[in-house]
């Protein structure tokens, strides 16, 4: 009996190669395709063309075109994140707590999964066909109300137009993130507060909102970063005419429009900082909110 069990032992030393095989390729991949490329740009942002240290590239970001591009990008991202967070929250709330027919929730969740991934170039096409100059909704408004929205200053290729378009993937993303959080609001909390005489308003202000706010703020930041890094929709809608930061960087990579490759690195550094901060805050807030949402 003892002699047969000895055979298990030799498999032990072979554990080491597997551990290496599992972790080393992943780390090499992460270095080659995530950390080093980003590091290259970050270091390049602080270098002169001959390789010595400088802050001039960062200072050179202070040009009207670049400042305007950052501003417009931040404005569109913030507006679409705020709108997406608000409307997505209302829809998630309606789906979870609205006592609607049962089929609505799974339909909504499936659709949100699709729509949050329906971004990029095709989304631009869809909105051109809807709210473009010869779009269906534009034509309907003209024929029903006799108002041509384009004559009143609306333009799909603008801040407002891009924000409305971005909402198409921002709202569903918010629904996907917030539904589990709203699910986590326990019925007992509501009942307990009602027994203690709280009104609906008091319940929301003193119980539900304090529990949900990390999720809400965190989702807003995630949506913000999501819109900030987006380019394909805007590019397909407007070509290179809209001056947002991703399109400026795209043009810079294509043809060095800023006439200074190191200024391009500084541009990229600015983007990493902005998306990094908002994503970092999202991850921190999510870990806070997970204490309640189980």
């Amino acid at each position: 009996m003892a002699q047969t069990t000895v055979e298990i032992a030799p498999s032990k030393p072979r554990a080491l190669p597997l551990t290496w095989l599992g972790v080393v390729p992943f780390m090499i991949f992460a270095l080659m395709f995530l950390i080093l490329p980003a590091g290259y740009l970050i270091i390049g942002a602080f270098q002169t063309p001959d390789g010595s240290f400088t802050l001039q590239n960062i200072a050179n970001l202070n040009q009207p075109t670049i400042i305007k591009a950052y501003r417009l990008s931040i404005a569109i991202s913030a507006a679409s994140a705020f709108g997406g967070a608000l409307l997505g929250f209302l829809l998630a709330y309606a789906v979870v707590l609205g006592n609607l027919p049962r089929w609505i929730r799974p339909t909504m969740m499936t659709f949100s999964g699709v729509a949050s991934n329906f971004a990029g170039v095709p989304l631009a096409f869809a909105f051109l066909a809807t709210l473009g100059r010869s779009g269906l909704v534009t034509a309907l408004i003209t024929s029903i109300f006799g108002i041509n929205i384009y004559r009143y200053g609306f333009n799909l290729l603008s801040f407002a137009g891009l924000t409305i378009t971005y909402l198409y993937f921002q709202i569903p993303l918010m629904i996907l993130i917030m539904t589990p959080a709203i699910d986590g609001l326990k019925r007992e909390w509501r009942e307990a507060s009602a027994i203690l005489g709280a009104s609906t308003w008091q319940y929301w202000r003193m119980i539900a909102f304090p529990i949900l706010w990390p999720s809400l703020l965190g989702s807003f930041l995630l949506l913000f970063a999501n819109a900030f890094g987006a380019i394909a929709t805007a590019y397909a809608l407007t070509g290179s005419s809209l001056n947002i930061i991703t399109i400026l960087l795209f043009a810079q990579i294509r043809g060095d429009v800023l006439h200074d490759p190191h200024l391009g690195y500084a541009l990229a550094l600015g983007m990493i900082l902005i998306t990094g901060l908002s994503n970092g805050a999202y991850i921190w807030l999510r870990s806070r909110s997970e204490r309640w949402v189980r």
């Binding site: 298990i8 080093l36 609205g98 999964g113």
Partner: protein
């Protein structure tokens, strides 16, 4: 409790916002022939050799990225789960990085690091650039693929399965590919379809790496044609829907089974 009016208003307004662009796009895509509705735009798009070539190319790169991604992520998630839980925060942080660094910034870095005058001149050859694009897509999909596989591994008893296979004399490759992988195949499949949905119409990376992928093709048609883009948007929407539907189909049955 009764259903109040507020939730209904929210749902109806939401439905209008989400459905109207789809209806408008579909209606627009049918208007190619003057005075009648027809599928002319679809016929032209589907018959376009460039459509077929770019779609096939993107589908191939997507499949390559899925295979590469699975081979990269499954052993890592497995080892982290079983042997090196200390590494979990680091690995999770790395898998979140593609959400932090915008795609356009990543590809900018690739173009600087792997250009013709660098140590690894991947962009010198067509095959090299294809490989670079595949790796770029593995990176883009990394957060989703890792999350999916990790969730799958947590749902099964990795340790017992491994020890059982070990005591029956399995080699490590065999444990990974014939014991662990089949047990997380639902998770792997949902990661795979999500990867496909993300990658198939991707524009920025393919365009900057100058590869004839579906995303740049879409953009080109959008800049030059009127009705075909609407037809393409509907086709893209159906592809995305199919990917999500397949995830639900494979994942849904399992979730229900687990709940019971």
């Amino acid at each position: 409790m009764r259903a109040r009016i507020g939730p209904w208003i929210a749902i109806i307004v939401g439905m209008i916002y989400f459905l109207v662009p789809l209806i408008a796009t579909f209606e627009f895509s049918l208007r190619m022939k003057r005075g009648e509705y027809s599928f002319e735009a679809y016929r032209i798009v589907l018959g376009d050799p460039n459509f077929q070539a770019s779609f096939t190319y993107s589908a191939l790169i997507a499949v390559a990225a899925i295979i590469f991604g699975v081979l990269l992520v499954v052993p890592t998630a497995y080892v982290v789960q079983l042997k090196l839980p200390r590494l979990r925060p680091l690995v999770e942080f790395i898998t979140l990085l593609p959400l932090v660094i915008p795609a356009i910034v990543l590809v900018f870095g690739y173009l600087r690091m792997y250009n013709s005058s660098s140590w690894i001149p991947l962009t010198n050859s067509v095959r090299g650039t294809d490989f670079l694009l595949t790796c770029a897509y593995v990176t883009l999909a990394l957060p989703y693929m890792y999350r999916a596989v990790d969730t799958g591994l947590r749902a099964i008893d990795v340790r017992t399965l491994t020890e059982a296979a070990q005591s029956l004399g399995s080699s490590w490759p065999r444990i990974l590919f014939q014991v662990i992988l089949p047990n997380v195949r639902v998770a792997v499949l949902s990661g795979a379809f999500l990867t496909f949905a993300i990658v198939i119409g991707e524009f920025t990376m393919a365009s900057l790496l100058n590869r004839p992928a579906f995303g740049p093709y879409l953009q080109l048609i959008g800049a030059n044609r009127a009705y075909e883009p609407a037809a393409l948007a509907i086709i893209a929407f159906i592809i995305t829907w199919a990917c999500m539907g397949l995830i639900q189909l494979f994942g849904g049955g399992r979730q229900n089974a687990a709940r019971r």
